[in-house]
């Protein structure tokens, strides 16, 4: 016959003073795990969320990122009038030739400098990326040295307020509007006119080309056409696929999270073990009584394991609750694909919290295994005689 669950629950709460420290300890470990992993999730989401599934991104063969790719004007000229490319209401092809430049700019408040990705877009560029919305000011006028910056970047960098002018090299660009990228990679960019960018940064070539395909079949046809054309040293892929593949930045954070959690959990497991041993020590007579009543050894082991798991579960819940306020907090770091400052949010998902709770339960089980076995092996008569 199994011991009722009520017994375990009551035990956890009766000895609450002794178990509090362990619960808090496990809670902290789970909180650290959830928070660091939420950084990785946030980073991955910022890139996975980017792109329109109807768009095709075209870069140079061998380039790992848009910013290190070059597309010459001759190569670009061959693309817009291909039959697979969609047209807008006026019959113009929906194609944008982008210029990507890394610019070093100072952060707000003496916080050092960082690289910012400046994207020069063609007039169709805005239409091709519907997730980018203007939230303040106005759009830039092609031909003028104007730029629209991401709202989230504006919070981090100096001179990005509306109406401000920021210097790059010895040229000035004025900020005329703020954009919002809808929690995508575009939240880390500054947009301006492509040809203006080419003249400003003396670029001969474009960096990449973005095109809207008529439909899914046309997208496949377009990709094949470009990849197999010998004149064009270019490769094509769906825009969403390009951004999803950018996982280089999130991976080290994920590894860090796992390492930290494992290392901290060892300490927490020892703490749980200590608590459970003390618990067994305090209830020696109780355990002897249970054995005399007829409960089997394995029932006692199971009971202590459940108690340990319950303890840890409470700790895990505490940890998750501790970490929730950080959800949605915006921060930034250097992204390894683009080598520029990438803005992202702490993202705590239900799946992540479930993983944290599971982790806590495993810690509790590991910590209570040895004490549970000890409880089961207590000789009945000596246990009954214990004080």
């Amino acid at each position: 016959m199994a011991l009722p669950l009520k017994y375990n629950v009551r035990n956890v709460f009766v000895r609450w003073r002794a178990t509090l420290a362990t619960v808090l300890g496990i809670g902290l470990v789970v909180a650290v795990y959830v928070l660091v992993q939420s950084l990785a999730v946030g980073l991955r989401r910022a890139s996975a969320n980017t792109g329109d599934p109807r768009n095709v991104m075209i870069v140079r063969k061998g380039a790992t990122a848009e910013s290190s790719s070059q597309v010459t004007r001759e190569q670009f000229r061959l693309i817009p009038y291909l039959p697979e490319i969609a047209r807008d209401a006026q019959g113009r092809p929906l194609v944008s030739a982008d210029v990507l430049v890394l610019v070093t700019l100072p952060r707000r408040g003496d916080n050092g400098e960082a690289h910012v990705l400046v994207r020069g877009v063609s007039p169709a560029g805005r239409q091709l990326r519907p997730q980018v919305q203007l939230v303040a000011g106005r759009w830039f006028v092609p031909g003028k040295r104007e730029a629209v910056v991401s709202r989230r970047l504006a919070a981090r960098f100096a001179n990005f307020d509306l109406g401000n002018v920021f210097k790059t090299g010895n040229r000035e660009l004025s900020v005329v509007g703020w954009l919002d990228g809808g929690l995508s990679a575009f939240d880390s960019e500054v947009w301006m006119d492509a040809d203006e960018a080419r003249s400003l940064f003396t670029r001969q070539y474009y960096s990449s080309v973005l095109a809207r395909a008529v439909d899914a079949a046309a997208m496949r046809a377009l990709t094949n056409r470009i990849e197999s054309d010998r004149r064009l040293p270019l490769r094509a892929m769906p825009e969403t696929a390009y951004y999803k593949a950018q996982t280089l930045t999130a991976k080290p954070v994920q590894i860090l999270g796992n390492f930290l959690a494992t290392a901290m959990s060892i300490g927490a497991v020892f703490a749980a073990m200590n608590t459970m041993y003390a618990s067994v020590g305090a209830r020696t007579r109780e355990i002897g009584t249970l054995r005399v009543l007829g409960f089997r050894r394995r029932t006692v082991v199971l009971s202590f394991l459940i108690e340990g798991a319950l303890l840890a579960l409470v700790g895990g819940l505490v940890g998750c609750v501790f970490s929730l306020p950080m959800h949605g907090y915006s921060t930034a770091t250097i992204g390894w694909e683009t080598f520029s400052e990438t803005v992202f949010q702490f993202t705590i998902t239900a799946g992540l919290m479930a993983r944290g709770l599971l982790f806590a339960v495993v810690m509790g089980l590991l910590g209570s295994l040895l004490p549970a076995l000890r409880a089961a092996r207590l000789p009945v008569i000596t246990a009954l005689r214990a004080v």
Partner: protein, 381 residues
């Protein structure tokens, strides 16, 4: 039995609990040391011996923008400049690895010894490097990692230039703080990539320490208001500018350290609490025998302190042994070169352990002091 023996015997009464406590402290301090060492490696890059006389000039827009080659003659003409070499990041991938952890740079081979004097190579390897345009020199760490020898050929696919190059190894250098790089001829890059006339950066050697500031200012002035403005800074400032790109990493690692220490404190406090609670009756007996409160404090404190310091010794000592005997560059595949556990870091960890020991003994000591002898004798648990 003397007092110290009494303390030690008490601490080891429940050997399992003492062991678990010490292990817990040891693991947490080990983690703390790793975090502090990593933070130091990321934010305080190692400095080469010759760095004091080197200046790096890059485009003022950003390091990703190329500079015109004609700037070289102008820089060479500045008084106080001993040598100038182009230095372009190739950004190549080797053997289709997802992450290539060594850098490749194109430079003027004749200026390898004058500018980077710390790199040590036999004289004939310098000559071989200069003689063949497709030759390269490889750092010892990379050569060991891939088992490369003189005469081997390596193929690098650039991620930023539209080309791949094949290089023949003419020499292996060592003695700098970063023995991972591959250096080859800039002329070869110009021909292969078709970017003749453009360089990534200029590395300048000043004649003396007094020349450093005037030369840096002169380089900045020389190209002000031209189409290719330059930012010249000392090599150290250049290294540190990369660190600032990490952003708030100091805060992140600092917060994690705080949490680790806090968790550790919870563990030690609860352990000491448990230990003292079990011995309450005994402590009451000691009180009845005439031991004063402060002597009891001292016993509890010594026990707590002893456990904490034993854990510190294990944890910090373990970290020290690990990092001096295991090659970190092999472990992290070349991302980190060396983990140095400085005396400062060891002191911080020991201090944390000491404070822990003291704090963990406060609550039990206060409880012992407050309870009267009669009440103490009456406790059963």
């Amino acid at each position: 039995m003397s007092i110290p023996t009494f303390i030690i015997r008490n601490a080891l009464r429940n050997r399992r609990r003492a062991a678990l406590c010490i292990l817990s402290v040891a693991v947490s301090l080990f983690l703390l040391v790793i975090l502090l060492v990593t933070l130091r490696e990321l934010t305080l890059p190692l400095e080469d011996v010759g760095a004091a006389l080197r200046i790096v000039a890059r485009s003022r827009i950003s390091i990703a923008v190329l500079l015109p080659a004609r700037q070289r003659a102008i820089i060479e003409g500045i008084p106080g400049v001993e040598a100038v070499s182009p230095f372009s990041w190739f950004g190549g991938k080797y053997k289709n690895e997802e992450l290539t952890t060594f850098g490749q740079f194109a430079m003027d081979p004749k200026l390898l010894r004058p500018i980077f004097g710390e790199a040590k190579m036999p004289a004939e390897q310098y000559a071989a490097f200069e003689a063949d345009q497709t030759a390269c020199v490889v750092g010892k760490v990379t050569a060991d990692k891939y088992g490369l020898k003189i005469g081997d050929r390596i193929v690098l696919d650039s991620t930023i230039y539209p080309c791949s190059i094949e290089l023949k190894i003419a020499g292996v250098y060592s003695g700098t703080i970063d023995d991972r790089n591959v250096l080859f001829h800039h002329k070869y890059l110009d021909e292969a990539a078709g970017t003749g006339g453009l360089v990534g950066m200029w590395w300048v050697k000043a004649r003396s320490v007094e020349d450093m500031a005037p030369v840096t200012a002169a380089i900045n002035r020389a190209f002000a208001n031209t189409s290719a403005e330059v930012r010249a800074e000392t090599e150290r400032a250049f290294q540190l500018s990369f660190v600032s790109m990490w952003g708030n990493i100091k805060i992140l690692i600092g917060s994690i350290c705080t949490v680790v220490v806090f968790t550790l404190m919870l563990v030690t406090v609860s352990t000491m609490g448990m230990a003292i609670r079990e011995r309450f009756q005994e402590l009451a007996i000691l009180k009845a025998l005439g031991f004063r409160r402060r002597e009891l404090f001292a016993c509890i404190l010594a026990e707590s302190f002893g456990l904490a310091m034993a854990g510190a010794l294990l944890g910090v000592g373990g970290a020290l042994l690990l990092f001096t005997n295991v090659s970190i560059s092999k472990l992290t595949q070349g991302i980190f070169l060396v983990f140095e556990v400085t005396p400062r870091i060891m002191g911080t960890a020991a201090l944390v352990a000491a404070v822990l020991g003291i704090v963990a003994s406060i609550a039990p000591a206060v409880a012992v002091a407050k309870t009267s002898v009669v009440e103490g004798l009456r406790t059963l648990d």
